[in-house]
Amino acid sequence: MRVHRIAAVARFEFLSVVKRWSYLLATFGLPLFLAAVSGTVLGVQTYFLSQRAAESSQFGLVDEAKVIDRSSFVEQNGELRWKANEKADEVLLYDNRDAARKDLDSGALRALYIIEHDYLATGKVRAIESEKTPLLSMRGTSIEPVLRKLLRKSLIEGRLEGDLHQRVLSPAYFVRSRLGPGGEEVVDLDETLDLLVRTTIPLFLGVLLLTALLSASGYLVQTVSTDKESKIVEVLLSSVTPEEILAGKLFGLGTAGLIQFAVWSTMVVFVAITASAALAAFVSIPWGALAVAPILFVLGYLFLGSLMLATAALGANSAESQKLTLGWAMLAILPLMVLVILLEDPHGILGQAMTWIPFTSPLTVIIRLSVDASGIAWWEVLGSMLVLLISTWLSIRVGARLFRVGFLLTGTMPSLAELWRQAR
């Protein structure tokens, strides 16, 4: 292969892409767009959920077992009411089921709890939701923990003393903390914030790596379709070999993709550093993941790209090429499909297995490194790169041969047997 020709193809392809408005918009606008959309969605959701959470509700309680301590209840208009929590949820104590069911049917109650006659033996409390109760609201409510507390208090009232009484009521206050990036410093951390800090950066980095990979591969599919549809293929092939065209396209569009990824990663780092300062060092920047990300991007892109180029060349037009290459993209997306498992257990069997599969290894390694760098061995990172390198070499070799067959195709697709013969 002649380096100058590859460079000429690469330069042309690179400039063709980076001069497009769509590329500039995607490179500089996408992270801002994603941040704006996710911020808006999160903000709106949070607002409505908090509004909903702030709404007070009434619950019914029927004490058939006669175990409830009624001293907490206040009589109002002939009803026994208990203000259960800060949200002003109220529990109405009924003497019998019929009156309670009537209020539940009318919609006055969100749910009805019945402490059955055999409660002391079975512990059974029947919970009946109103038909009008919105989905998820029953589980989301904080009424059940306070009912439990009320029951506990009623059961031990007068039987235990002092601190023991208190500890039975509240056995433990969890004071949450974790080690900061500095090592020993212990800081208080809200559970939600902890989850956010642990998942946001790996998630963003992973999504950006995948988006950059698929975006660069998408450009490859597009350029092959353009060549075929504009019928310039013969002119190109009378000057350069299919291998040189393939290599030129891979390098040119890969550089465009790498620049895109670098811009996006820089923005993630910037956000992480800013967040780190703002959250008093809760956030640790995954420097290891960021360091290997460009290498994984290049290898992953060369592997996926050469397969995509070869497959795209078999399509007669852009739509057909995109259909043919969809399978490769789906394989690359796989880690994102099992993201919850990877975030929960980054170094489990699934994470380890996907580290060694060339389609999934770039994204998996990035996620594992950014969630918990200490759990992945250096030989795993290097090994996955080696597997990726070998797979890339193979896919470029086979891809170049298929590319030669596919590039000149204008009509029907060759049979699988013919493709196999050419690829050997």
Binding site: R5, A8, S230, I232, V235
Partner: protein
């Protein structure tokens, strides 16, 4: 050995034999006409010669050796199915195609500008190709072909879509190449252009070589043994096998042993006042139709 030579070349696509043991050569400095009806196998033959396709059987030599990327740099190709990057600017496209042929960046840009001027398109150099008319786009492609001054230039239907002025321009460019000793392989259905330009031709039909050789010799071979004579005299009354076409114009079938020159001498010796004398030579379109319709 010719600039481009095929020896027993066969190419099959599945069960269809596109080329069947074709042997011919294109010689240095000539304009060679590759003729044949649509689907005859001309494009396949060209693609094999330029190593775009590989033959199933037979040998191809380009500049005396099997086609290699290095000797392909000495060729240029204008395919019948015209292809350009429509969103590229004209100057950028030419520079790119020049680079693909191994030219340095500055040389490619200069050559592109020079050839745009030659084909009268300097003013559109910075426009996108998609803004050009079909004829202008075709001239850009011809400029792209000639900008490297290739030793062998393969032009597949270079005149299609061009107006008479531009047909004359392209004809002149091909003539210029012949004068400078460059070789041109011309595939066209415009038979009068073949007659005007080609030194030698090959006619392919259904994948097989039907006719191959010097253009003049082929035309003579397929010509009737007749002459046209313009005279005021009545040739029938002189005992000749003549048919009057128009007033003063006679078509005469020559005796089997006679040559046109010898026959003219004999006429003059016998006192026939000949105003004009023309041996009948078959036109290439007649030969083409004759052979394609099964003539031998």
């Amino acid at each position: 050995m010719g600039v481009l030579a095929y020896q027993g070349v066969t190419k099959r696509f599945g069960r269809h034999t596109a080329l069947d043991r074709v042997s011919l050569e294109v010689r240095s400095g000539e304009v060679f006409g590759l003729l044949g009806p649509n689907g005859a196998g001309k494009t396949t033959l060209i693609r094999i010669g330029l190593d775009i396709l590989r033959a199933d059987e037979g040998e191809v030599s380009l500049f005396g050796a099997p086609p290699t990327p290095r000797n392909l740099d000495r060729t240029a190709y204008l395919p019948e199915e015209r292809g350009v990057y429509r969103r590229a600017k004209v100057r950028e496209l030419l520079a790119y195609l020049g680079r693909l042929k191994g030219m340095k960046r500055a040389a490619a840009r200069d050559a592109g500008d020079h050839w745009l001027e030659r084909v009268g398109l300097s003013e559109v150099a910075d426009q996108r190709v998609e803004s050009l008319s079909k004829g202008m786009t075709q001239k850009v492609q011809i400029a792209a072909c000639l900008m490297t001054d290739p030793e062998l230039c393969v032009l597949d239907e270079p005149f299609s879509g061009l107006d008479p002025v531009n047909v004359a321009l392209v004809t002149e460019l091909i003539e210029e190449r012949r004068r400078s000793g460059r070789t041109t392989l011309l595939s066209t259905h415009m038979m009068h252009q073949v007659e005007a330009l080609c030194d030698r031709v090959a006619l392919i039909h259904r994948g097989a070589l039907v006719v191959y050789g010097q253009l003049d010799e082929i035309r003579r071979r397929y010509s009737p043994h007749e002459v046209m004579i313009w005279t005021t005299m009545d040739l029938v009354s002189l005992g000749l096998e003549a048919t009057q076409r128009t007033a003063g114009c006679w078509r005469v079938e020559l005796p089997a042993s006679a040559t046109p020159a010898g026959y003219l001498n004999e006429l003059v010796r016998n006192g026939v006042l000949v105003d004009r004398y023309e041996p009948l030579v078959a036109r290439m379109d007649e030969i083409f139709v004759h052979l394609v319709n099964g003539g031998s």
